[in-house]
Symmetry: D3
Subunit: 130 residues, 6 copies
């Protein structure tokens, strides 16, 4: 799958690229979108969803970027770790914050398996009440 | 593996239980620790690590709990989702914050696989420089 | 672990290589098998299983290759994504089909985590009856 | 998180519920949406994406449901396995097709780890050309 | 999917059940095989593979069972954790061995994510030479 | 994140490096620790935990290294597979043992998904009694 550069993109793809650059206040498009542009419907839907999900709300953008990075690190997605590390840095994540974020990711992965392997039953008080 | 209740615990286990309750300002121990107490060395080491990792630092405790919950949800650990949802609520996570947290977790899991399945190469500008 | 080339392979390994090439109607062996050939028992067992599983049956070979690719993309296995993308293409997967396949993989990974993180209980009507 | 029943739902949530029932030609809503409705923005966005992704296209709905089920089984999401098994059955998946689907899922998970653990390098001919 | 009991099983399925019981020196069949028996080809192939893989070889059966349990705990498969805990106990795993096994599983899951999240490059001396 | 070399390390980091080299009887530090040293608290805590977990106990060091490698292969962590393959070799793992280890990892990953996808219920006799 080749990367779809701006110059050669269809109007539909160009419109998404323009929105990405305007929303992020940058003048370039990263490889993820250039590759996804091979399927314009996926490009548009994924970008629209991402834009909504990452917009400021009850959580601020830095926290959202750090959550994104934590999940990506936990999943071992090389591309996503690299791109969301950059995004989180840009949103204000310091070296110290990254170190603590990774410590939480590591710890959660450790205790997730301990809880599962030791077959721990959920405490009554933690059960969702419906 | 039975759960080790406070009354029947060895002095070593009791000391960890006491520290858990003092640190968290609660008067009960959740099942995870009661089961892990079957291996006192694991109990102590895991608790000491968790206490250090979750202490306030460059990230505040609420953000740390949300990161923990995000990883646990991504890993599908039922016990951890239930217990860390409770912990994050206690630390101040509102319904709206939980909704946005889960939206980020869902989105990250989606784009992690898109990046991997589409075999996207890391942009030069995202590569770590060492 | 070096790769075991055809010329230097033992008769047991050669027999598997010959069957791979005959079954797939190709005149080359891909790296996966050349590396696995360091353990001839694993080579033989894995190939025999794969041959049975991927043979036409209630599902046609293209659907099977797409299922294989979907799982590999979901697991983030770089080698498997590359090799099964090629295999699925050869079996008839178009660009449009690949785009839709990846969209399903992404969506499933997103909603899998939403269902787990939101702790959704299984509907009575979805429960297996035994 | 309680489940949001149709009668008590806000107009925004009701509109999504109505579209789900109309699109699927059913008169009930499954638990996933009732729980997600606690965050109306997530409900709407997730449903809109799912509707687009699962619509007939280059792949027919049965293949899409089987891909969804394969990923869900691979991820071990209990809710998703139960609900998408039902959906795939409804779309025409027979017992024999399910058996073969699961065989592919199992095999892919096995060889994904063999390829990674044996550190197999990607064959030149499988590399994406960009 | 109902469970296929011995009495109602086809001769093909009965033959596999007989071999399972003879190999394991037990007089009962666990649920995994009874469910898988709905697809006799999967039942036979999976059992044949498992029998070969778990037979004594360069690794003894206890080590193999512990490796199986470690992977199952890491993957969070409830059924597999329960059944392989039982199998490992039967093969000689003590409480202390189980505690240490789970500690390694937890630690590996932690450092796996640290290595990925911190984007650590493989040391030259660890690279496979081919 | 640059790698922290011994010469430029702080006394706190140097102390950990010295302990790693003394414990492992080597005169070099692998990249994992050099990168983690950017967060000295994580470096110290992770090393202390690892040292305790991997020390000889009810399980010998070779078995522990093989368990570590099995989990790392199952998780697809490239760095960890490379470094723990080397460590397991050094601890005595032969080619034959590695082949069998990987066969178990593959098999466990296969049956983990079969058990989950087929929705197998845990046998009464496998349930933990508490």
């Amino acid at each position: 799958m080749r990367m779809v550069e701006y110059e050669e993109a269809s109007p539909e793809v160009k419109a998404v690229y323009d929105d990405i650059m305007a929303t992020r206040r940058v003048d370039w498009i990263n490889n993820f979108w250039k590759v996804l542009a091979n399927d314009p419907a996926s490009l548009r839907r994924t970008w629209e969803s991402l834009k909504q999900v990452m917009a400021p709300g009850a959580l601020d953008p830095l926290v959202k970027e750090m959550l994104y990075l934590a999940v990506s690190a936990s999943n071992g997605c090389g591309y996503c770790i690299a791109s969301h590390s950059a995004a989180a840095r840009k949103a204000g994540m310091s070296d110290a914050m990254f170190g603590e974020l990774m410590a939480v990711v590591g710890m959660a992965n450790e205790t997730n398996r301990l809880a599962q392997g030791w077959q721990v039953e959920i405490d009554e008080r933690f059960r969702p009440r419906r």
